[in-house]
Symmetry: C2
Subunit: 278 residues, 2 copies
């Protein structure tokens, strides 16, 4: 019963701390391909609310649908508006992505800080969104003035122009990164669980120290037979260095068996070629 109650509490906490994802609002986008690529970048990072303000080539747009590939459903669901004011009408907090803040008095946030701010506001049930400008010119000052703050990414100042889909990608990446302290990495399928940072041992496990010590004894015995650990006064440091290499390797149980096979096979070859040395 206690376990069940706690699990219920955990679920509730999880719902409470997973806020609605921000809307991505593309203002007067020019190329259909870029709308599709932006949708794909959104899907990569769990963003689903795509809004378009006056797309240049009309709507729907086949090129957007094709470029989105597996994220075409986001393109199909996109809502189209005649003006920025209509597109952000029901939102409580709006950011504007731009390469530099122009002549406006405005708070500047990095993508990372922006994601944190949007997440905190989402937790408080605020509706949020991010404005991205047309490819050629970016957002104009009248549109930026409608936002609460500006997002600007750290870039090489000598080569600062991000494409529209790249800007959406960086924002989405920081949004997903902020979801938990150690978000799952990469692809997850029915065949493998989520991956986190650190060393992975698929289909095997880290070796135990006893397995390593067994390997060392095996190896050192064969090396003694071969006369490798010579002269005697150097033996302790040679053994220490060899053992240290194996410890650094972070060996798996399977690795230990592989090494024992290698040692046995090399020792047999030696014996085949002429029996014991020394």
């Amino acid at each position: 019963m206690k376990a069940k109650a706690e699990s219920g509490k955990r679920e509730q906490a999880s719902v409470a701390t997973q806020p609605a994802a921000p809307a991505v609002i593309l203002v007067r986008p020019q190329l259909g391909e870029n709308i599709g690529f932006a949708a794909r970048a959104m899907a990569n990072f769990g963003l689903t609310d795509l809004r378009l303000v006056a797309p240049r080539d009309g709507w729907p747009n086949d090129k957007a649908h094709v470029a989105a590939a597996g994220a075409a459903f986001l393109v199909d669901q996109a809502r189209v508006y005649q003006s920025v004011e209509l597109a952000i009408g029901e939102l409580n907090f709006v950011l504007a992505a731009t390469a530099r803040p122009r002549e406006l008095v405005k708070t500047v946030l990095s993508p990372e800080s922006a994601a944190r701010e949007l997440r905190e506001r989402g937790v408080r049930a605020e509706r949020t969104g991010v404005l991205f400008g047309p490819e050629r010119s970016g957002l104009d000052n009248d549109t930026i003035a409608l936002a609460d703050a500006i997002i600007t990414a750290p870039v090489n100042p000598d080569f600062a122009s991000l494409s529209l889909p790249q800007a959406v990608l960086l924002f989405g990446y920081e949004w997903l990164k902020g979801e938990s302290a150690s978000p799952p990495l990469g692809r997850v399928t029915g065949f493998d669980g989520p991956v986190t940072e650190g060393i992975a041992f698929p289909g095997t496990r880290p070796a135990t120290r006893a397995e390593l010590f067994g390997l060392f004894e095996h190896l050192e015995a064969k090396l003694d037979q071969a006369g490798f650990l010579y002269p005697a006064q150097k033996r302790p440091s040679m053994v220490r260095n060899i053992r240290n290499m194996f410890h650094r390797m972070g060996a798996s149980e399977q690795d230990i068996r592989t090494w024992r096979g290698i040692i046995a096979s090399l020792a047999r070859a030696r014996q085949g070629r002429g029996g014991k040395v020394s």
Copy 2:
């Protein structure tokens, strides 16, 4: 003299802590466009060492040159190799970017941790690089086995496939982010200095409290004349709320002048329409 010596020390420290940027190694890339987009993403984040292993459509490739736009110089400088082994021959530490670690025992790093590791190794004068696989299949296991560790990005597990240039972009973004605790944001030109986080006041400065108090007195006097701050027992809380709105605004000196103009102009209009009320 002291200042000069310190400045010299700072320069030295800066050289010592700005390690060589990692090489970006595209393994059997298929589309010239993607090579160009990857070069562009490299330039966005200060990466310059592009290496290609057996590009499918041969080399040089016009489509790569065109897609790179302003970063075409990186495409022109790219070195081409027949094998991964040759491409990474002189490197000390190599990472492999892949959506999931397959059946290899290998350390997994997020792009952020990978950037930190590469930076630390670069500071110790190690040469480093990151392998990115062909568009369709990604890196094969034989190539991944050549790397010291794997980079995998946090993505939506249901839609995990990043395009080749997007993968390069995310890595480059984390590389540049790691350069300092507060990297400059966005475009920097001869006309404006670097932008950092926080509120920007281009061409103006934050208002002083004295300027705000002057505005409050002006506004409240006009509102008293207009009978707005009524009844008397509500006046203190009304004044407090109005003052609080202005403080929240983070007003600039220019904003104060604008508001004084607005107040004066509205008050004149009232007088014009019928003189003082109350």
